[in-house]
Amino acid sequence: MTTRTAAAHAVRTHSLVRDYGGGAGLHGVDLEVPKNEVYGLIGRNGAGKTTVLSIIAGLRRADAGRVEMGVAPGRTAFCPDTPEFEPWLTAAEVVRQSLGLAASAGRGEGDRGRERESDAVARRLAEVGLTEAAQRRTGGFSRGMKQRLSLAAALVLDPELLILDEPTSALDPTGRADVLALISGLEGTRTVIFSSHVLPDVQRVAGSVGVLDRGRLLFQGTMSGLIDAYARPVWEVRVRGAAGPLAERLRTLPWVVGADAGQDGRLVVEARSAEAGELGLARELGSAGARLVSLNPVDADLETAFLTLTGERIPGGGGADD
């Protein structure tokens, strides 16, 4: 069941359940998406991200629980991860079709309410970098181009809530940077729910984050709150001279979990907690008389926090689970 609310949240779900059997699905998800923020929804394959997004978008039904919408009816746009369009329509026609369908459903005029349709279509295609392909039929588009077009066709509706399911999964680095900048620019005027496996992308654009695992919400809050709570308290220290003696000294301290010296005066220190490290490391470096060159936090990112939270082994690099 979906209801409307005038709260500060664009979307709230209450004990959302969708059981696909065998443990798959959602098992009581309480999502709270703040209005006019970019909300990152992360989780492994099969965690339930697409199911949550589909239920919010009205494409699937929940077995139990309800969705409370804080945006006007018909002001939601949804971009699936592998969008498709009629192959015999051009990119500009797809955006015009998006406007035409929404207008026929009485969903408002979108961008057309403020400017001429042709201007609105051209502007949205330019925003996603498809100006040159505007008159090309979409049948020959790559998946990345379709993702951009999907975003243009959604933005032209001027939605209050934009749901993006893996919107950058097929984009090249330049395209990804462009789209992320575009999404980031929506903050403050629109609510965006952004689901992705590419955790650095989520970290870059999302102010709030929800972590789904096996159909349950493990964490929900600010991005900084998640990183502070779950990232490993590890620092890379670089001192002038050999780092070995300093590492031996640090290993004797009760708040130090490990201290490994490397080449060129480098030293990696892991503390029992972020607070203990933040308080103790600078003090100890000072009392040891070390000549500090640099001090940087390591693994203080969403990926580390995600892996810690979901109990996954921290790999050498790469995405959490592509």
Partner: protein, 255 residues
Amino acid sequence: MTDLTAWRVEWLRLWRSHRLLALLAVFAFLGFSEPLAARYLPDLLRGSTGSRLTVTAVAPAVPADGVGGYASNSLQLGLVVVVVVAAFACTIDSRPALTVFYRTRVRSFAALLIPRAVVTACGAIAAYLVGLAAAWYETAVLIGGPDAGAMAASALLGSVYLAFAVVVTAAAGAFARSSLGTVGYALVVLLLLPLVGAIPRLGSWLPSALVRAPDALVRHSATAGHYQYAVVSAVLSGAVLLLAGCRVGARRETG
């Protein structure tokens, strides 16, 4: 720049995907070939058998043979093509990602299904009429002019039946997940109807009675009035099927 409404998109689907061309080609071929076959059938038989006895058994062609042959084949062979074209247009959920695009922009499933059914039906009727005109012209040239009133009635009743077939296919499209599944469901219904029509007194009430109408009309073995119940049942059952399709489609999940 004009609005790209659902109706215009459906026209573009018919035109740019060459489905209208396919329909026109099939019906025009039938329209030109049937009078030709009717006119030269005795010669063909003579050539193939070499026996004068066989030829004497074939009656000389009359105008009704040319037009009637087209009417029968267009509502059988042509019907299959119409069903295939309608199935690929009306099976909205056959491509899930594309369905998401459509369903998240409209309020009702009817807003998607009805334009597809109506525009496809118009395309099918236009192709049928083009074929009928071709059959009429060639029959007039090769055999003799058929009765204009019977031709007009044939055009009307044949069009009603094709529209009914498209609606059956559109309704099937709301139940099926694939275009081929839709073709299967629709053909089963359309092929079963004449069998049900074999039941005494029921036949004239079923839309399938319209399949034989054009041939019977041009041969003057029936008048348009004979088919009034079939027309009414085609219109009513078509409306009910379309409504059912819209309801079923609206309840389906995607994404």
